[in-house]
């Protein structure tokens, strides 16, 4: 039976949706996971539990067993960190039609990515702090405010902004305690609007590119509060963005696969914040599908299967995806307003993440966004207004905890 192997998944968002789409495409879905809570995913035909998913030999042995019992493995993919390039490597070992493995691996480490692209104008000023480096006389200190990142973190958990020398030292120490063997990346802080670019490249050709603006909230951590699709950009900026992307992909040798880039428009110049070797998580597939009619995840899976994707837009709408965060800590007693939010004209999707009994808190990472509303309209402003009005219907009732 034709099957797709997935390495890891979350309970919600792109990686979970990929399982459903693969099933809908007629493939048997085989999920390798290290989470017992994934054993009851309805769209998965077979769950293989492995303590350490990065144990390549163990995973390969299991795949060989699957092949022996008649499963035809057509693709091996992952939509979550840190398994994206790993899944691509497994694909190579299995002799499958694969995406570019080396570039994916480069993108997975923020430091190697910066080093590879350091000569490009879109790379901001950055410094690397090695575990053995002294914190005295840091060269970057004259460039405050600065951003400090752990090289392999995601979801903004370990991305810190510092404005004073003392906070810089504290932040480095904090991340060193957390990642004692890793170098840290320090970057200049750039003021400007932030954009997310979803990309698909096939045979060195940019097959799909959509840009959306991000509303980034900063309260000690950077949290994306909303996505606005499509981003309203002047033609020259759009063209220069395409040009930068082509250069970056060329430099990385990324000729097949999908990724997303976070870009900042600082003083009318594009600057690269980061590249992730996979489609964005969360509700990105819904945003793109509502805006264009293209099921991006399905087309990405098509590429992984070695087939020809179809990126024809069947509609052109403005989409606003608004996330809800809270400012108090408490145990969730009840959530109200989902149905009322859905009643707003233009609201396509309302997702409430936490279940009753969960402890909710102020946002410290993207995972602390507790609801999402997607609204669609004929204008950017209208989509934003609908999403905001619908979001105001959602109420979380908490008891102090």
């Amino acid at each position: 039976m034709k099957s797709i192997v997935f390495i890891g998944a979350y309970k919600f968002g792109t990686s979970k949706e990929a399982l459903t789409i693969a099933k809908g495409m007629g493939y048997a879905v085989i999920l390798f996971t290290d989470k017992h809570s994934h054993l009851d995913f309805l769209e998965v035909d077979q769950v293989i539990f492995i303590d350490n998913l990065l144990n390549e030999q163990h995973v390969m042995n299991e795949i060989l067993v699957l092949q022996k019992i008649g499963k035809q493995i057509c693709a091996c993919v992952s939509f979550i960190d840190p398994y994206v390039s790993y899944a691509a490597r497994l694909s190579t070992l299995l002799g499958l039609k694969v995406v570019s493995f080396q570039p994916l691996s480069l993108m997975e480490n923020k430091i190697t990515l910066r080093e590879t692209l350091k000569h490009l104008p879109i790379t901001p000023a950055y410094w690397i702090i090695r575990p053995e480096d002294s914190l005295q006389k840091l060269k970057c200190i004259s460039h405050l405010p600065l951003i400090i990142k752990a090289p392999v973190s995601n979801g903004s958990k370990d991305v810190l902004m510092v404005k004073t020398p003392a906070k810089l030292t504290n932040a480095i120490q904090y991340l060193r305690d957390k990642y004692p063997n890793n170098s840290l990346l320090i970057e200049e802080f750039l003021e400007g609007s932030q954009y997310l670019v979803e990309l698909v490249i096939q045979n060195d050709e940019l097959k799909f590119m959509e840009v959306m603006e991000q509303d980034v909230i900063y309260n000690g951590k950077f949290i994306v509060g909303a996505y606005k699709y499509p981003a309203i950009l002047e033609e020259t900026l759009y063209k220069s963005l395409i040009s930068h992307i082509s250069t970056v992909m060329g430099e990385l040798g990324f000729s097949n696969g999908s990724c997303h880039m976070e870009m900042k428009l600082a003083q009318n110049e594009w600057m690269l914040i980061e590249i992730n070797p996979r489609m964005s998580g969360g509700v990105m597939n819904q945003i793109i599908e509502e805006g264009t009619g293209i099921n991006l995840l399905k087309e990405i899976l098509t590429i992984y299967l070695g087939e020809e994707p179809e990126f024809t837009k069947t509609r052109s709408k403005y989409v606003n995806a608004r996330y809800i965060t809270i400012q108090s800590r408490g145990r969730l007693l009840k959530v109200k307003g989902k149905e009322r939010a859905l009643e707003h004209e233009g609201v396509k999707y309302v997702y409430i993440k936490p279940v009753v009994g969960a402890v909710l808190k102020k946002p410290h990472s993207m995972g602390d966004r507790y609801a999402c509303i997607i609204a669609v309209s004929e204008s950017e402003g209208q989509a934003e207004e609908i999403a905001l009005c619908a979001a105001k219907e959602i109420k979380f009732y908490l008891e102090p905890f």
Binding site: Q327, L360, K395, F396, E399, P400
Partner: protein
Amino acid sequence: MSKELNNERKSNHCICDALLELKILQDLLQNSQTKFFGSLLAKIVGTDTIPFLLVTQKGDLLSLHSAMEDIETNYFRIESVDLENSSATLSLLRPLDIEGNLTTSPCDVVRLEKTSICKTVDVTCICAIQPLDTEMLKRKIIIEPKW
């Protein structure tokens, strides 16, 4: 106090005795002044009320109504017990839902609020007492997000 609690039955009706015991416990919450910690017990519990439900001989929950304040409730606080006449004076507790609105649906009650409305009940028509969590009197509900 423990002597008072351990006394043998005083009335001809055990529900009366049980309500008296509940009253003694409830008074203990408020009036316990000890040598070293003073009113620590009252602070720990954080309320002067042990809420309860009463089950009638018919098997229903006793429901009392105050026309003046338009409250109908199954939730009570014991105020006094008349052992001789097998009656008890109860104050009504206002049952509130998660949004702070009055509710008659037991599933929706998350918080109880004291009132000064008292009713005297013939205890002989009661067959059971169900004490409830004192947390219901002091529960704080946060509503988020604040726009």
